[in-house]
């Protein structure tokens, strides 16, 4: 029986353990393979990229990246950065006090408010698309990055509230009482007492919001044109591209994914809490 206990607790195990570890490696490699393939292809010349069977030893070149950057992606990447970063900042500014009101000194019926926030995530984006489009047309906000910023803020605010609430719920009551005895007001308490304690939570909520904003396509596609176009919309220009541009398509996909890849790899543990809306720990 001790052997089984070892298995469960995941300490030393031989025999079957090796096979399972090997299997884990194989599965991990299978999942990452398409991305590795994309990366390799992006460094191949167009003729080598389209070979069948594939030629793994083909010479490496930056031509794919060069021809991608020749298509002028920078404005759309800058738009994506603007929209993602500004909406993330807005989300945190709105979500942080809200999470405070829902955890540390909870308003009555705070669970109902939490469910309201979650329920807005369940409203399919397409169901609100038409009124938002018509409003944008009416207000002259089509192809305006600020409209996207507001929409991305509303898209991510519920997630951030849920995450931050669970982080704030762990702030020790004593330090809040101490702050209140010292006569600190709400804003002072939030800024000087609570915020430093939950910085990791704010960082992970911000990361998630950034990723979701960066990835968003439907709003961006419908509501932006040439000026405010985002990177994913720019990528859709490759949807119909054929044969000879495989290396370019792969280079484009890789470059546009890079900010999220870097952010995600750097903060894997925070992703877990974030993706589960902070509801599970």
């Amino acid at each position: 029986m001790t052997g089984q206990v070892m298995m469960v607790t995941g300490k030393k195990n031989r025999g079957g353990g090796w096979a399972l570890s090997g299997l884990a490696w194989v599965v991990g490699l299978l999942f990452v393979l398409p991305v590795l393939w994309m990366a390799l292809t992006s460094f191949h010349g167009e003729n080598d990229a389209a070979k069948n069977p594939p030629d793994l030893t083909a010479p490496l070149t930056l031509d794919g990246f060069r021809s991608f950057f020749d298509t002028g992606p920078w404005p759309s990447i800058a738009n994506s950065l603007t929209a993602s970063i500004l909406s993330t900042v807005l989300v945190i500014l709105l979500a942080f006090p809200a999470a405070y009101a829902l955890s540390i000194k909870p308003v009555k019926k705070w669970t109902d408010v939490m469910f309201f926030f979650l329920s807005t995530k369940m409203l399919p984006v397409v169901a609100g698309l038409l009124p938002i489009y018509l409003f944008a047309q009416f207000a002259g906000l089509l192809d305006n990055i600020w409209l996207l910023i507001v929409l991305y803020t509303s898209m991510n605010l519920p997630i951030a509230v849920w995450m931050l609430r669970s982080f704030l719920a762990e702030v020790p009551v004593e330090i809040l009482e101490a702050a209140s005895v010292d006569g600190a007001g709400l804003i002072r308490t939030l800024r000087s007492v609570v915020a430093p304690v939950v910085t990791p939570g704010i960082a992970s909520a911000g990361l998630i919001c950034f990723i979701f904003s960066w990835n968003e396509l439907l709003f961006a596609r419908v509501l932006t044109g040439t000026v405010a176009q985002t990177a994913p919309v720019f990528l859709t220009g490759f949807v119909t591209s054929q044969g000879l541009f495989l290396a370019k398509v792969c280079a484009a996909s890789l470059v546009v994914s890079l900010p999220v890849l870097i952010a995600g790899f750097a903060a894997q543990d925070k992703l877990v809490q974030g993706l589960s809306l902070g509801a599970v720990k």
Partner: protein
């Protein structure tokens, strides 16, 4: 839209100490609510108001190409949506796509999470490899599958077939042969890591001392898994299924990119996008939107009930 959950978790905030006077309490209440208000008001304006307009538009004849015919239409739009063969097909596709992606990636995710719950050399690296698909921008991921993997002439899949079995290897046109499966498979690849991450968090929050005790008492590995691990994982399974469904139901990127809604893969979001963006039939697009929302509410009502159990352990 507010989903009526019928769930009213019992423990509301306790009345704060020192709130005896009603005047004092009302100012106290206000101070409590104030930090919440900006976020709440913002959400109501940006998400609820548009939906009200959608409901109104769904009862109107409203096509941008025929501005003179705008007016009240009653339930015509809904009748047209429900009787339209394409829309009915889109509803079916949405159900198949969502159920397929969520169930398959949930099962894969559980298996991978169990594999990664053990300690072994390079576990961190394997986890990093596993989550990579989730970090690729969805449009980029869809482009990757469409061009670099599925393409019949130079895609990796057929390249591997030829590399292994020689020139006479079959070279199927994956997307044309199985368009819906092509989309599902690409999405399973993206969503398995998501399920895996949540379930792994669940596995690692198991009370290990209890499980060790069970092992010492002679419980078999299967019994421990069946009667201890699975019940503990239940809420994590439900949560990941709920979140996965919310996102996959709305999938637009993969359908738009891989098949452009062709070959019978147009789901409701894509169909609505087309009805509104290409055909400019605002009334009908709105009616279809309302139907999606009703469907989502049905899923959500069941799912939220389980999420509410997450609150029960908290009393703050």
């Amino acid at each position: 839209m507010t989903v009526d959950t019928e769930v009213r978790p019992g423990r509301h905030a306790a009345v704060p100490p020192g709130s005896s006077g009603s005047l004092l309490r009302s100012t106290g209440d206000w101070a409590r609510r104030a930090p919440l208000m900006p976020a709440l008001v913002f959400m109501i304006i940006v998400t609820q108001l548009p939906f009200v307009v959608t409901i109104i538009a769904s009862f109107m004849n409203w096509n941008a190409y025929y501005p003179d015919e705008r007016g009240f239409a009653g339930i015509d739009n809904f009748r047209r949506v429900v009787t339209d063969v394409n829309t009915r097909h889109a509803i079916l596709v949405t159900i198949l796509l969502t159920a397929g992606v969520v169930l398959i990636s949930l099962v894969f995710g559980l298996c991978v999470a169990l594999l990664l719950d053990r300690k072994f050399r390079g576990r961190g690296l394997v986890r990093t490899m596993m989550i990579t698909p989730f970090l690729i921008v969805p449009v980029a991921a869809a482009l990757l599958w469409k061009h670099a993997l599925y393409n019949p002439e130079y895609g990796l899949f057929n390249g591997l077939l030829k590399g292994i079995f020689g020139d006479s290897a079959p070279q199927p046109d994956w997307i044309s042969n199985q368009p819906l499966w092509a989309v599902i498979f690409a999405l399973v690849w993206q969503w398995t890591p998501f399920m895996m991450l949540i379930l792994l968090a669940g596995l690692q929050s198991r009370p290990l001392d209890v499980i060790e005790a069970a092992g010492i008492d002679g419980a078999s590995k299967w019994a421990i898994f069946r009667y201890m691990t699975m019940p503990h994982l239940r809420q994590y399974l439900e949560l990941s299924a709920l979140l996965g469904s919310i996102y996959v139901v709305q999938n637009f990127d993969a359908v738009f990119t891989i098949t452009s809604g062709g070959l019978g893969t147009a789901n409701l979001p894509y169909t609505i996008y087309q009805t509104f963006y290409t055909a400019h039939d605002y009334g009908r697009a709105s009616a279809a939107g309302v139907i999606v929302v009703i469907g989502t509410i049905i899923i959500a009502t069941f799912a939220l009930r389980s999420v509410s159990t997450l609150f029960k352990e908290e009393g703050r």
